[in-house]
Subunit: 218 residues, 2 copies
């Protein structure tokens, strides 16, 4: 029996999504056959409007409804502290924690040579330009994921920031300001260690090693 | 930070799909932000065309492009053997095996009291009418899933078929023809036991019990 063309087409669209294999794609399509037409139309409308209804902020590259985005244009937030993340979803996650009062810079990826993603494929140059341009940046928090690729990306950015700082102040031997004149630009990495709710017994060696290194006085 | 409305709307549509939670829905939506607009339009088009491009066969209730469907209108297939399955996907799975030459009847569900699905919510009555009406049915293969609900559905259909057979031939004490006059209507259940590639050691008790019961001489 041939699979109807309409079913085949939708199955193929689902299959292209990350983490959705052929079986799941088929299951989702057949599920939608039982859904009323107006729900399908609503779903279709949302898909078509996704990109037209959102704007990438030209300052921090997060996904928002305005440019500059809500966070970049908020006078209450410290424009001198930039948290660098891989994806717009990371901004949402950090915002939910409610503790951070600085701004963001979204790379839209990570350096990942195995998948042919080099430093030029993500917004690293824009970050360096932003730090140089604004001139009032005091801290860069590298909050890329604690994976191999995330660590490599953080290291690369750290190196670039320091190189551009010393290029700006060649007379000075120290790693001096890429940002605020005469002040040292702090580059930090988000803390690593045991997540809340974890079990010491089941933690991997590197996490435990990092937790020991990152211990603080209580 | 507020999530853009366009992102929120698509996330909600994804969340309504079975097996997709809020995190996955968000991940899929943000993935689609990187996809070109024409791909999104194609996806949207497929969604809108899903139901208009398919027809439910009025004979066997499978999903096809014509009514009656390809299988029901195929003169090569034995219209006297009906395989009863829960979903259109089961038809595809059985067709892939390539061994079955009869026709199908799709129930579009299973009797599932916990989810408020009784015998009237699925196409059981239509099956009984079809068996009575065609008058040349020799075998009904109950191929509902070997789950609690699938077994209950199979048992219910078996009972109904036998009841309607004895109602048709009240003088006869045997369970006689709902179908072919004077001939016994065979009602069978698909074989159960160990699937190919399984490991005896890890099989559950009921599967092993069924495998012993269903043993055949080699």
């Amino acid at each position: 029996m041939k699979i109807p063309k309409a079913v085949q087409a939708l199955t193929e669209s689902f299959e292209k999504l990350p983490g959705i294999g052929p079986k799941t794609a088929q299951r989702l399509t057949f599920y939608l056959l039982h859904v009323p037409q107006y729900e399908l139309d609503k779903f279709a409308q949302s898909l078509q409007n996704l990109k037209t209804g959102t704007i990438i902020c030209s300052n921090c590259f997060t996904v928002g409804e305005t440019d500059p985005c809500e966070i970049c244009s908020d006078p209450e937030r410290d424009q001198g502290v930039i948290c660098v993340v891989e994806e717009p979803l990371d901004v949402l996650a950090l915002e939910k924690s409610g503790k951070y009062k600085g701004v963001y810079h979204v790379l839209h990826g990570r350096i990942d040579p195995l998948n042919n993603i080099g430093p030029d494929e993500i917004y690293i140059k824009q970050l360096l330009d932003r730090v140089k341009g604004e001139g009032s940046v005091t801290e860069i928090i590298l909050a890329t994921n604690p994976t191999m690729e995330g660590e490599a990306t953080a290291m690369y950015i750290d190196k670039q920031l320091k190189a551009s700082a010393s290029a700006k102040a060649p007379a000075d031997k120290q790693n001096l300001p890429a940002g605020r004149q005469g002040e040292k630009l702090k580059v930090t990495r988000i803390g690593r260690g045991l997540p809340i709710g974890a079990d010491l017994e089941y933690a991997d060696e590197i996490t435990l090693q990092r937790a020991m290194e990152g211990r603080i006085e209580i």
